[in-house]
C-alpha cells in the first residue's frame, strides 16, 4: 500500500523554535546560499523573512525561525558563519525576543455572515483594509500566536485566501545578559 503523502504538521510553530537574525551582504544569490545550506544540512526552516537592512543598501537582514529540534543551534550558527556573505548573526531565544508577523486574509462574505465575521475581526484586533460587495480583506499585525489564533478562527469560513509574511524579531528590551540566563 502506498504511504500517505506528507500533509505537514498540524501546528505551525515547532516545539522548540529559535530566531536567527542574519545580516548578509546584499548580493545576487545570497538567499539561495542560505536556503541551500539549510537544505543540504537538514536544518528545518519554519519561516523566513528577507528585507534590506537598516543603514545600508549593502546589507540585507534575513530573519529565520529555525526548528531547534532538527539540529543543534550551535551547528546551524556555525555553518551559517561559514557562508562568506554572512556578516553577522544574532540568535534570539523566543523568551528574549519580541516577535511580530503580518497576516493578510481575504474572506468571502455576505449580509448574513458579515456580523459574525466583524466580531471575529474585532476580537483579534485585526483591521479591515479592503472591501467589496462580496469580500473583506483584513490585516493583522501581531504575535505569531495571535496570527495562529486568528487563522484558526477563520477556518470556519469557506474560500479564505490567507497569506502570512513570516516573523521578524528584535531583542526584548531589558533582557538579562547572556551570562545570567538559564541555558535553554
Amino acid at each position: 500500500m502506498a504511504p500517505e503523502p506528507y500533509l505537514g504538521p498540524e501546528t505551525h510553530t515547532p516545539v522548540r523554535h529559535h530566531i536567527l537574525s542574519v545580516l548578509v551582504e546584499n548580493k545576487a544569490g545570497v538567499l539561495a546560499r542560505v536556503a541551500g545550506l539549510f537544505a543540504r544540512r537538514g536544518f528545518n526552516i519554519y519561516s523566513l523573512a528577507v528585507a534590506p537592512a537598516e543603514l545600508h543598501e549593502r546589507f540585507s537582514r534575513i530573519t529565520i525561525v529555525v526548528d531547534a529540534e532538527s539540529a543543534p543551534l550551535e551547528q546551524i550558527v556555525g555553518q551559517l558563519y561559514k557562508l562568506v556573505n554572512v556578516v553577522d548573526i544574532s540568535d534570539l531565544a523566543p523568551s528574549d525576543a519580541v516577535e511580530r508577523e503580518l497576516l493578510l486574509a481575504t474572506i468571502p462574505t455576505n449580509v448574513d455572515s458579515r456580523t459574525g465575521l466583524l466580531d471575529v475581526i474585532g476580537e483579534a484586533n485585526a483591521a479591515i483594509v479592503d472591501v467589496d460587495a462580496h469580500h473583506v480583506t483584513v490585516m493583522l499585525a501581531g504575535t505569531p500566536h495571535g496570527c495562529d489564533a486568528f487563522e484558526k478562527a477563520l477556518e470556519s469560513y469557506e474560500g479564505v485566501e490567507l497569506h502570512r509574511t513570516g516573523r521578524v524579531a528584535l531583542p526584548r528590551l531589558g533582557t538579562p545578559p547572556e551570562s545570567e540566563k538559564d541555558p535553554e
Binding site: 551582504e25 544569490g29 546560499r33 545550506l37 549593502r58 551547528q75 558563519y81 561559514k82 554572512v86
Partner: protein, 570 residues
C-alpha cells in the same frame, strides 16, 4: 593601463604568484587563453577537465600552495565538479576558473551554458559570478585569500565571455581590506580560558591520545606537534588526511586510526581517558559507531572551523584555532599529563600482538599487494611523494608506506574519489619536479583517469604508476566477500583487459609488467632508472587479499578485525 578582462585575469593570477594552470580551453573561456601565450605562467593542457581539477589538488597537497584550474563553460565546468567536491571535503585550497556564456545570454539556455555557481554552491568555500571586467582583480585576490586562509577550500570564479572581452583600467588590491569581504573572519584570537581548561584536562590525563587530522598539515604544525608530543610523551595517531604530519618512524606514533587503522591506534583511542583532536573532524571512517567511540574519553577539540565543534562528538573543551597556534600555546603553558608508563606498556603490548600482517605469496605466484608497496618503499629515496586512488590499494599505501614529512601523501580522503591518483600524481610532480612521485593505484581507479598519462608525457611530467592489478573493484569485492555471502556482483574487471602495458606504451609511457617476486624487483629497479617519461607497471596481485585490520561499517571500534593469522589468541 587599459587591459581586456582576459588580460586582467591572467595578470591577476601572475600577481598571486601562480606558476602553473591546469586546464583545457573551449568556447566561453577562449578569450582568456589568448594572453596565456604571453604569460610567464605554465599551462598544462589536460585531456579531460576532471584531470585538471585533480592535478590542481595534487599540486596543492604536495606544495601547500593553492592549485589553479581553468576550464570552459557547460560540460567543461561540470566535468570539474568532482574535483571541486573532493577538494571541499578535504579542505584543499583550489582556485577554479570557469568560462561562462555572455552575460546577456545567461538564463537563456545558451549553447554550453550551465549554472556552475549554483551547482557548486554547496561544494565550494565560496564562488563568484563576475559581472564586469573591472571586478576581476578583486575577485581573483579574494578567491586566493579565501582558498588559503582559515579552513582552506576550493573557490570558483565564473567569468562570462563578454566580461573577458571588455576593457578595464588595471588595478590590483593592495591589501585584504580592499577585497570586500565584510563577513569573512578566518581566524579568531586564541581563547586563553579554553587553553587553561585544556591544560587542566591534559595535566589530569593518565591515558591521553593526540588525534592528529588534516588541519595539522594545513597549518604546517609538524615542528610544534613534534616538540609538544616529545616533551609530553603522549601517543600520536595520524588520520588518513594527516599522514606525514608526524613521522611514521617515530616511536610515539601509533599510525592511522579508523576503519582500516592500526590495531594499537584504534584501541588506544577506545581506551584513552583524554582525546586531543588537532584539526580532525571525527569522520565516520575514524569513529565507527559514534556512540561507542572513545567511550571513556574527555575531548579537547582544536579546529579552525567552529562548525566542527560538537558536530559528531561532544567535547569538553573547544579551541577555535589553527593547529600550530593551539599546540604552541598548550606547549608554552606547560601542559603535561600524568606518568604515562603504564599507558605505554599497554599500548606496546597491542603493537607487538597485532602488527600489520599479510600472508606470504601463494603458490600460484600472484603478488601480495602489500609486498609490492614495501618493495617500492625500500627502493625509494626519502621524501618520495605517493599519490593514490581510492580503495584497497589506498588503504595498503597508507598502512605500508612510511610517511616522514608533510606533502608526501596525496590522497582523496573525505570524498573517496576513484581515479584521483594518476592526475593528482601529475599535479604533485608538476609542483615538486625535484621529487620522485609514485602513484599507487588500483586497476579500477586507473581506468577512470589514465588518459592523463598522455598529458604527463606531452608535458614532460615523469610520474611512476604502480597498478595493483587484482582484476577486481577490490574494496567492493572485499565487502561482498565479508558481508554479502561472497555474492560477487559487478566487481570483476579482468586483469588482461585492457592490456595495461600496451595502453601505457600507446600513451607514450614505458609499460612494464610483473607477475613474480623476481619480476617485481626488476621492474621497480627499471622504473627508478627512467626519469624522462612516465612509467606504468602492471603488478598482478592476488584478488583474495583483503585489507586488515577492519572495523565493519557502523560497528564499534572495539570490534576491530585483525588479519586472520593473528586471530584466535583471545
Amino acid at each position: 593601463m587599459q587591459l581586456t578582462g582576459a588580460q586582467a585575469l591572467i595578470k591577476s593570477l601572475e600577481q598571486e604568484g601562480v606558476e602553473v594552470i591546469f586546464g583545457l580551453p573551449g568556447g566561453a573561456i577562449l578569450p582568456v587563453y589568448d594572453p596565456i601565450i604571453d604569460s610567464s605562467i605554465r599551462h598544462v593542457l589536460v585531456r579531460h577537465e576532471q584531470g585538471a581539477g585533480h592535478m590542481a589538488e595534487g599540486y596543492a597537497l604536495a606544495t601547500g600552495r593553492p592549485g589553479v584550474a581553468m576550464v570552459t563553460s557547460g560540460p567543461g565546468a561540470t566535468n570539474i565538479v568532482t574535483p571541486i567536491a573532493n577538494a571541499h571535503m578535504d579542505s584543499t585550497p583550489l582556485v577554479v576558473i570557469t568560462g561562462q556564456v555572455a552575460t546577456a545570454a545567461i538564463g537563456t539556455d545558451a549553447f554550453q551554458e550551465c549554472d556552475i555557481t549554483g551547482i557548486t554552491m554547496g561544494i565550494t568555500k565560496h564562488n563568484f559570478l563576475i559581472q564586469s571586467a573591472q571586478e576581476i582583480p578583486r575577485a581573483v585576490a579574494a578567491a586566493f585569500h579565501l582558498a588559503t586562509t582559515g579552513r582552506p577550500g576550493p573557490v570558483l570564479i565564473d567569468v562570462p565571455k563578454d566580461v573577458t572581452q571588455s576593457m578595464m583600467d588595471w588595478w590590483y588590491p593592495s591589501s585584504i581590506d580592499e577585497l570586500d569581504l565584510p563577513g569573512y573572519r578566518p581566524e579568531v584570537p586564541l581563547d586563553a580560558d579554553a587553553i587553561n581548561e585544556a591544560v587542566t584536562l591534559i595535566n589530569a590525563a593518565e591515558r591521553p591520545v593526540l588525534y592528529v587530522g588534516g588541519g595539522a598539515l594545513k597549518s604546517r604544525a609538524e615542528r610544534e606537534l613534534l616538540a609538544f608530543a616529545e616533551r609530553t610523551k603522549m601517543p600520536v595517531v595520524t588520520t588518513l588526511m594527516a599522514r606525514g604530519a608526524f613521522p611514521d618512524s617515530h616511536e610515539q606514533h601509533l599510525g592511522m586510526p579508523g576503519m582500516h587503522g592500526m590495531y594499537a591506534a584504534v584501541t588506544a583511542i577506545q581506551k584513552c581517558d583524554l582525546l586531543i583532536s588537532l584539526g580532525a573532524r571525527f569522520d565516520d571512517r575514524v569513529t565507527g559507531k559514534v556512540s561507542a567511540f572513545a567511550p571513556h574519553a574527555k575531548v579537547i577539540h582544536v579546529d579552525i572551523d567552529r562548525a566542527e565543534f560538537n558536530k559528531v562528538r561532544e567535547s569538553q573543551v573547544t579551541i577555535q584555532s589553527n593547529v600550530t597556534a593551539a599546540v604552541s600555546a598548550l606547549d608554552a603553558a606547560g601542559a603535561t599529563p600524568q606518568n604515562l608508563e603504564v599507558w605505554w606498556k599497554e599500548i606496546r603490548t597491542w603493537q607487538e600482538r597485532y602488527p600489520l600482517a599479510y600472508d606470504e605469496p601463494s603458490d600460484d605466484g600472484l603478488l601480495r599487494p602489500q609486498r609490492v608497496i614495501e618493495e617500492i618503499l625500500a627502493a625509494s629515496a626519502p621524501g618520495t611523494i605517493v599519490a593514490s586512488g581510492v580503495g584497497q590499494h589506498q588503504m595498503w599505501a597508507s598502512q605500508y608506506w612510511k610517511f616522514e614529512e608533510p606533502g608526501t601523501w596525496v590522497n582523496s580522503g573525505g570524498a573517496g574519489t576513484m581515479g584521483f591518483g594518476v592526475p593528482a600524481a601529475i599535479g604533485a610532480k608538476a609542483g615538486r619536479p625535484d621529487k620522485t612521485v609514485w602513484c599507487i593505484d588500483g586497476d579500477g581507479c586507473f581506468q577512470m583517469t589514465a588518459q592523463e598519462l598522455v598529458t604527463a608525457r606531452a608535458e614532460g611530467i615523469p610520474i611512476k604508476v604502480a597498478i595493483l592489478n587484482n582484476a577486481y573493484l577490490g574494496m567492493v569485492r572485499q565487502w561482498q566477500e565479508m558481508f554479502y555471502e561472497e555474492r560477487y556482483s559487478e566487481v570483476y574487471l579482468n586483469a588482461d583487459l585492457p592490456d595495461y602495458v600496451k595502453w601505457a606504451e600507446a600513451m607514450g609511457c614505458v609499460g612494464l609488467r610483473a607477475r613474480t617476486m623476481d619480476e617485481m624487483k626488476d621492474v621497480i629497479r627499471q622504473a627508478n632508472e627512467i626519469n624522462d617519461v612516465p612509467v606504468v607497471i602492471d603488478f598482478r596481485t592476488d584478488s583474495s587479499e583483503k585489507v586488515f585490520p577492519m572495523v565493519a561499517a557502523g560497528a564499534s571500534n572495539d570490534d576491530i578485525m585483525v588479519h586472520p593469522s593473528l586471530r584466535g589468541e583471545n
